[in-house]
């Protein structure tokens, strides 16, 4: 119980930081968000393909490597 209590402020800080990051991401310009979506696609595609789900990662003409 005591260990749990000492963890609480740290966990609360981590959750707050995570929340702040999501709000920061929400405030990005749209083109940057689209590039982030493509990064998410690149991460998710191998997992989905391994499950037999056919997906294609977008090929953005305006993407900076």
């Amino acid at each position: 119980m005591e260990a749990m209590d000492t963890l609480k402020p740290e966990i609360a800080r981590l959750f707050a930081a995570k929340e702040a990051r999501r709000h920061k991401l929400a405030a990005l310009p749209f083109p940057e968000k689209v590039r982030a979506v493509v990064c998410l696609q690149e991460m998710a595609a191998p997992v989905l393909r391994a499950r037999g789900i056919k997906v294609r990662v977008w090929n953005l003409d305006d993407r900076v490597a």
Binding site: F30, P31, A44, V57, W58, D61
Partner: protein, 165 residues
Amino acid sequence: MKRTLQVLNELERGGVIERYAIGGAMGATFYVEPLLTFDLDVFVVLPQSTAGLLSLAPLYEALRARGYTEEGECVFIEGVPVQFLPAYNALLDEALMDARETSYEEAPTRVVRAEHLIAICLQTGRDKDRERVRIFREQAELDMNYLAGVLQRHGLEGKWKQWTP
């Protein structure tokens, strides 16, 4: 995606579609954190045929003529799978009419308003729509008066109360 949007604009200018706006997860991404999606959902108002029917066939034909191929429900336009969804009810008609004018890398485009995207989620009613409504409430800047009007006009106030206790 810039080229994809330019193609959509060309289709609109040519009268193949009357009006379009980005919806779905990419529409939501305009207002909230980036959401994983593999399709670009595009709501469209289609011109009526002489028989008074609405059909996606002329749109697909126009895209085929430009060399874009279909795969399942999508058409690959400049590296992006686009799913066209014709406006099939009063809520979507209104969402398209009031869609927000914006630009993506200098390509003009339209995105469905956050308040309409919420209403569409309520109307569709899947688990992922409920989660999306939660994200909208948490992260998007919403015009609550405008949202109240949309919900009232389309009979979604009960669902909103149910989903947002």
